[in-house]
Symmetry: C2
Subunit: 522 residues, 2 copies
């Protein structure tokens, strides 16, 4: 009899998992179809669609459960950090156009690393000054530092759907590259801040955060590169494709995930690790597999990333209607609006504070190169705007900082969670809708997708990349090597890149795989 | 201060998940590489490799944890039924050669459905008679019924790695088809038995089980077919590939999973549902997507299935060393060996009891067809042998019946779990090793992989399929239609198949997609 009861209980437990998973998968399918139907409509993008559908489903769940809950699944930041984030970031690294990315590496790093440091210090200071003005008190110094990093991670999906890689290669690569590096930096900085002993804040604290940040950054990158190279080496050495493509694909997927989990295990930044493992896998390992594995990996990583992103935005949409959090927050409506507005203001200010100065710095360092490498003022505005949207990473970090398994512990934390949700919703929907008109206004050539318009930009790009061209004789190479030192002084960024390309051709590709220098790199 | 403690606790909790996942993924990668290196070795297959590696890792974990545990992850039959089983079964349906499968549909169903019913009643009766002889008492009637179904689900991976689709098409399709249908039937029967009220066993019980089984079988199949057709229809109607292949692939993956979860939700058999949704997706939906999506889906489903299978065998290997279960079991060593041997004997007997009679029946029904459709005695022995291995499904069902979240509740249950693990290990490793010599002995032509040897079998096959050929004029078709009725009497199986092919061409393919009749079906 006991056994029968137990089986009945098991069944009940089973349904506890089966019902939400079924519903969520059904909603995901629905989202996918709607997203496809709205594809032609450039105003609405995937994120906005998922957010809105999430809100609608949240309302329905809220009505059905009679105000009890608006969720299908309980948010678990574990779910996010262990299962949803790795595919998104890995795919970003895997699909990035490496030529452009490395070409603009220095500028991207400036924006992605120094930019986040500037932006998060401004947001931390600003919120510390502004929040008490709206009767919002009770946050610890650690919370303020956390807020700085939470609201410094951007979501550039929206802008990328409007920009085009072929038309504005520099802008696209800057916005995309910054978006990824910025996410990674925010998480690294967030973890560095979390480890900080806030009870003893003194002059050495800043140094400590910086050192901790540098350690996390370099160790994570090294681990990612090692994982990517090891995969490439194994795939090349054992030639898996001889027997089955399935094993190659499985090995790439598992190694990518392993690198992320190892980084998490060693308390490094899994995001950075998996991003670099993605870059190195697509640069080396991808060339060692069969043709069908190449096609499959490209699509599979994109698909996993797509599902994970949709999942997150759906969740955020549902979470916006979580009545419990709203009830828990003790702020009056006007004070709340004050808090939201000040966060939005600080985000805009923090971003302006680094985009314009750092662009000037980058232009200065690239002063000898031709016009196409210069970031014009209009471009700077687009870069600034592109980084105003806040997305999945902000939500996940906010849940990590202010909730315990998705449930805020006190009114102050509840207010911060609702603030994050509102900022993400507002910035994604409102700024997202405004992006297209802004880009069309600033870059009017943008919509002429004729070949006449495209060719100049490609030609221009080639002119600026004489050092990167592979069609050069050995003699020329030698001659050029002599000039390297003087070039390093004049054009530091390009020359380092050129050294890397030669090193890659001479040593890395023969060992780890990849097209030889007479073939164009992908 | 409380917050800091909480963060520390969160970190601890995080590591509780991160460490096992990292280890398991690392072991999976290792398994993959070893599996690749042993590919040339036909004696050892994937399952055996994973099992042995699992045992080794289990020993290491046991030594490190000083006899406390041999697991990296705690077994959760939820994990198995919600995440690992669906991809395996879906892939089986998706990759099955439908022409051969439907051609031999009747025989496969005979083996897979009637066979399991015969086998499980023999095993149930046999264990009920034999177990008490080894002082093993305390099992309920429901347990005995469960044992029958648990040990009726085969694992044919081993034999399939030795047989070749081109050389012995009939045998391959029978063994493969039976393997899949048999898994599904076992699970359906298991669920039917679980719902049974064993306290009131009477004459109507058998009828009740049968009705419940028929309901589960037909409803699950219908749901799977509906899901497959819906996906095909949506993909065809909306033409996703126009914008992105990623959405098509995501939709297929999600719909497949949704069909499984829906079946579980309605307490049907997810296995059957997802198997048929796989068949219908590859028959219709697969033809409505872009070329790269076709390649990707083929590989992606195979990869997921491969990872899930390896995962399960690794786990079983580790579980074999779980000292707790061994200690819990109260049987003496000789009695235990008696129980194991009687289960093995019953498995062999139960399988013999249906393979030989049903083969004779199938031969009888196909009496007018040419020699190649006849199941020779040697073939019958191979089919019998191929189904002696027990695998993942047996383990999962045993855990479902005899444990509560991987922990057996009493000595009797512990004995049954260890018995299942031993039977799976023994049958997979010992029978697995012996399969190749047996097949080479019985089918000596098997190793001549020259074209001369292959062609006749293909030619023969074509001779036996005059009704299935598409290169026939309309007049011939008309003429043939008149003969249909008499044919139905003479060759019932082929005639039904032929009707289906014509229906498919005339109505299904134009609506749901697929190559038109002048192209060969894949």
């Amino acid at each position: 009899m006991e056994r029968i009861l137990e089986i009945a209980r098991n069944l009940g437990e089973k349904h506890e998992q089966v019902v939400p998973i079924t519903l969520f998968v059904a909603v995901l399918c629905f989202c996918l179809v709607i997203g496809h139907l709205l594809e032609e409509n450039r105003w609405v993008n995937e994120s906005i669609t998922a957010l809105i559908i999430g809100c609608v489903i949240g309302t329905i769940v809220l009505l059905i459960s009679k105000g009890k809950s608006s969720h299908i699944l309980r948010f678990d930041e574990e779910l996010f950090f262990i299962y949803l984030l790795p595919p998104i970031i890995f795919n970003a690294g895997f699909q990035v156009k490496k030529k452009q990315f490395f070409h603009n590496f220095f500028t991207i790093m400036l924006f992605g690393v120094i930019g986040v440091l500037i932006s998060s210090s401004i947001i931390t200071t600003g919120s510390w000054l502004l929040f008490p003005k709206f009767n919002f008190v009770g946050l610890t110094p650690r919370d303020y530092l956390g807020i700085g990093t939470i609201f410094s991670s951007t979501d550039t999906v929206c802008t990328l759907q409007v920009l085009h890689q072929e038309e504005t290669p520099l802008l696209y690569s800057l916005v995309f590259g910054e978006g990824v590096v910025n996410d990674a930096t925010s998480v690294v900085l967030f973890n560095a801040v979390q480890k900080l002993d806030v009870n003893k804040v003194n002059g050495r604290t800043a140094v400590h955060v910086l050192l901790s940040f540098l350690y996390l950054f370099s160790a994570s990158t090294a681990l990612g590169i090692a994982a990517g190279l090891l995969t490439a080496y194994v795939l090349r050495g054992l030639y898996f494709g001889r027997h089955s493509s399935v094993r190659e694909i499985a090995l790439m997927v598992l190694m990518a995930y392993l690198s992320y989990m190892l980084a998490e295990l060693f308390e490094l930044s899994g995001i950075l690790t998996v991003f670099f493992s993605g870059i190195f896998m697509s640069h080396y390992a991808w060339h060692n597999v069969t043709d069908s594995s190449r096609i499959t990996t490209r699509h599979v990583f994109a698909m996993m990333s797509f599902i994970a992103e949709t999942f997150i935005f759906l969740y955020v949409g549902m979470d916006a209607l979580d009545i419990e959090k709203w009830r828990m927050s003790k702020l009056s409506i006007w004070d709340s609006i004050g808090v939201y507005s000040s966060v939005m203001f600080l985000i805009m200010l923090g971003r302006a504070a680094f985009v314009f100065p750092l662009s000037a710095l980058s232009n200065c360092l690239n002063r000898t190169s031709t016009r196409s490498s210069t970031i014009t003022f209009k471009h700077q505005i687009v870069i600034w705007w592109a980084g105003l949207m806040r997305g999945a990473v902000s939500i996940a970090l906010a849940f990590k900082q202010f909730t315990h398994y998705g449930v805020p512990l006190d009114p102050v934390n509840a207010t911060m969670v609702t603030t994050t949700v509102i900022v993400v919703l507002f910035s994604t929907i409102v700024f997202g809708f405004l992006t297209k008109p802004l880009v069309s206004y600033l870059l009017p050539h943008h919509h002429n997708t004729s070949n006449i318009d495209r060719e100049p930009s490609i030609a221009k790009e080639n002119m600026t990349l004489p050092l990167l061209s592979f069609e050069e004789s050995a003699a020329e190479n030698l001659l050029r090597a002599k000039d390297s030192l003087s070039m390093l002084m004049e054009r530091p960024v390009y020359t380092i890149h050129s050294f890397w390309r030669r090193f890659d051709d001479a040593y890395m590709r023969p060992i780890f795989g990849g097209p030889q220098s007479d073939q164009p790199s992908q």
